[in-house]
């Protein structure tokens, strides 16, 4: 069984983002970029499935400009077998619908039995791509996964999901789409020998045209602005002073 994992290159989670002066977006040049944390968890899960003897190959895919190759290499250094890079010129208009269509095309040529993604990218915070590609493929979906167990016969997958009221368990027939939540696993670090080995692994380049996908968009980002700032607060010296302020100044009691 082949597992495909979609990974995204995003501004590192610890970076405090700066808005561009022309309000066209967030500054990404000279900014530390990394693999989206949820994508790392998805890669780790794919590797664990392979190590448990449930999968034969793990393929990492990413969409975007040249530098996406670094993100794919990170996945290969973690232990994935090979990479696929859909090279696009302008990744700013690459909304989840376009990514889902590209993934759908890759799935039809690669024929994986399981497509793993992160539950959301920490830049656009959309939380859409996995659900959309599942819909396009007509596959069942399990979002926000915190536990994934492939059945012995590799015909189904049992997934525990983090939902508003607790933990929900569902079972899907394979092939299926699963999106990873934070608590699914703790991703491994790539060791230096594995980083070296990853340089020899193959990354195949394809264009949207070769996949017969037209990247148009029915969305337009008009502007990106700073969120409203909270006014500076005060430090209080004691519990009594705090309660006094809450009662007489903030009037919440």
């Amino acid at each position: 069984m082949k597992v495909m994992v979609a990974v995204k290159r995003v501004v590192d989670y610890a970076v405090k983002v700066r808005i561009k002066a022309d309000k066209s977006g967030v500054e990404t040049s000279n900014t530390k970029m990394s693999m989206n944390p949820f994508c790392e968890i998805a890669v780790e899960e794919a590797l664990r499935i392979k190590e448990a003897g449930r999968a034969s190959e793990v393929v990492v895919v990413s969409m975007g400009g040249e530098q996406c190759v670094e993100t794919i290499r990170t996945g290969l250094a973690m232990g994935a077998d090979r990479g696929l890079h859909v090279i696009t010129q302008d990744s700013s208009s690459l909304f989840p619908l376009a990514v889902a269509k590209l993934l759908q095309a890759l799935v039809s040529s690669e024929q994986p039995r399981l497509l793993l993604l992160g539950k959301q990218a920490i830049d656009d915070d959309c939380n859409q791509t996995g659900q959309m590609v599942a819909g396009l493929l007509g596959w069942p979906q399990a979002t926000f996964a915190s536990k994934v167990s492939i059945s012995d016969d590799k015909e189904s997958v049992c997934v525990e999901r983090e939902v508003d009221g607790g933990i929900e368990t569902i079972q899907l027939q394979l092939p299926a789409v699963v999106t990873a939540d934070l608590r699914l696993n703790t991703p491994r670090y790539a060791t230096l020998p594995n980083i070296m080995k990853a340089k020899k692994k193959s990354i195949q380049r394809v264009t949207p045209e070769e996949l017969n996908v037209v990247i148009g968009s029915d969305l337009e980002v008009l502007e990106v602005t700073e969120p409203p700032k909270r006014k500076a607060g005060v430090m209080v010296a004691s519990v009594d002073e705090l309660l006094d302020k809450l009662k007489n100044e903030a009037r919440v009691f």
Binding site: P140, V221, S238, F253
Partner: protein, 353 residues
């Protein structure tokens, strides 16, 4: 007060709305015989975006039975903007599985030709809406916090550190999930039944697509609590790594009980196993906007702040004076929480009846 200013604010838009013949379908999540607050907020958001005079259809679906009937009753009086309650009954809709629900939305959309589909940005809404959007061939807009006009919305990106104004320019429907805390469910008007919507049955007997039947709902394990729901609570008290153990969370719970507050947690507290995951507040957990948020032993990482920034008053208790949480707190108390909490419990006015 909130309801009157809300009405006044959006009246000018309703004139605009008439020119477009807009209409919204809103997904009603329900449980225990009532429509959830988040879905009523979604109705409020639809009314705000489309204008008061545009028809809003609330879709209530389930496998049937008394609970569904009660939810239909509640739906018909849940918000004055609701003009129709669309009822779908099918054994496939008894559980929150994305495959049949997305198909139901597609069928309802094909029949009703709505200009918009709205839902709350809950775990269910996030699961179903993008799937339905893909089936309808359009891009959804998720977690909207403000409406500008029928096709222009503001949503937070980068963990709330930037706000994106996004315009939908497709031919429709425009699919939107809303952050419930940003659209009050108009409590004064709820339950008064001023709208008198019609109740219409939707034939869901032909729900079928490649994916239906390929997923099976096994069960839900939940923590029963008597405290208010996190997303709707007026006061939220949450704890982080500083609490040091699950047992120490009882200190927070004592304070929460006295104030009638909900209890939340940072990711660190959840990962450490102090509390279950559905209590996590932040970018990837729940978003809260209570009147009072008390953060205890929480440093204030970007990802946590994303979930609390819209709280009216933020209080931080942390012994580390340099903790980033103090930069967003209205009132900061640099004190050991194990001293501050018992003192607070003893001194706060009890809000419990």
């Amino acid at each position: 007060m909130a309801s009157s200013s809300w009405k006044w604010k959006w009246r000018p838009l309703s004139k605009l709305a008439r020119n477009f013949a807009s209409s919204a379908l809103v997904i009603a999540e329900h449980g225990g015989g009532s429509v959830k607050n988040g879905s009523i907020s979604a109705v409020a958001a639809a009314a705000a975006a489309l204008g008061d005079s545009s028809p809003v259809t609330l879709l209530v679906a389930g496998s049937g039975g008394a609970e569904l009937d009660a939810a239909i009753q509640h739906a018909s009086s849940a918000h004055p903007a609701v003009s129709q309650v669309l009822v779908a009954r099918s054994p496939l809709l008894g559980q929150p599985l994305a495959e049949p629900w997305a198909e139901l939305l597609v069928q309802a959309q094909k029949k009703g030709n709505y200009s918009h589909i709205f839902a709350a940005s809950s775990s269910f809404g996030k699961d179903v809406l993008p799937r339905a959007a893909a089936l309808l061939g359009v891009s959804p807009i998720t977690d909207v916090t403000r409406t500008i006009d029928q096709h222009t919305y503001i949503r937070p990106i980068y963990a709330g550190n930037a706000m994106a104004t996004v315009r939908f320019k497709g031919s429709g429907p425009c699919i939107v999930s809303i952050r419930a805390t940003s659209f009050p469910a108009v409590p004064g008007l709820a339950l008064t039944g001023v709208g008198h919507p019609s109740i219409v049955d939707f034939d869901a007997s032909s729900l079928s697509s490649g994916a239906i039947g390929k997923s099976k709902w096994i069960g839900l394990s939940s923590q029963q609590t008597e405290r208010p729901e996190l997303g709707a609570a007026k006061i939220v008290i949450s704890g982080g790594r500083g609490l040091k153990s699950a047992e120490n969370f009882e200190l927070l719970e004592k304070l929460a009980d006295k104030l009638g507050a909900a209890v939340g947690a940072s990711r660190a507290a959840v990962d450490a196993g102090f509390v279950p995951n559905d209590m996590q507040i932040g970018q990837t957990g729940k978003i809260v906007a209570p009147e009072l948020y008390i953060a205890v032993g929480i440093s204030g990482a970007i990802q946590h702040l994303a979930g609390i920034k819209d709280s009216k008053v933020i209080v931080a208790i942390n012994k580390d004076r340099d903790a980033p949480i103090f930069q967003v707190a209205d009132y900061g108390l640099a004190m050991d929480l194990f001293e501050a909490l018992p003192e607070l419990v003893a001194k706060v006015p009890s809000k419990r009846l």
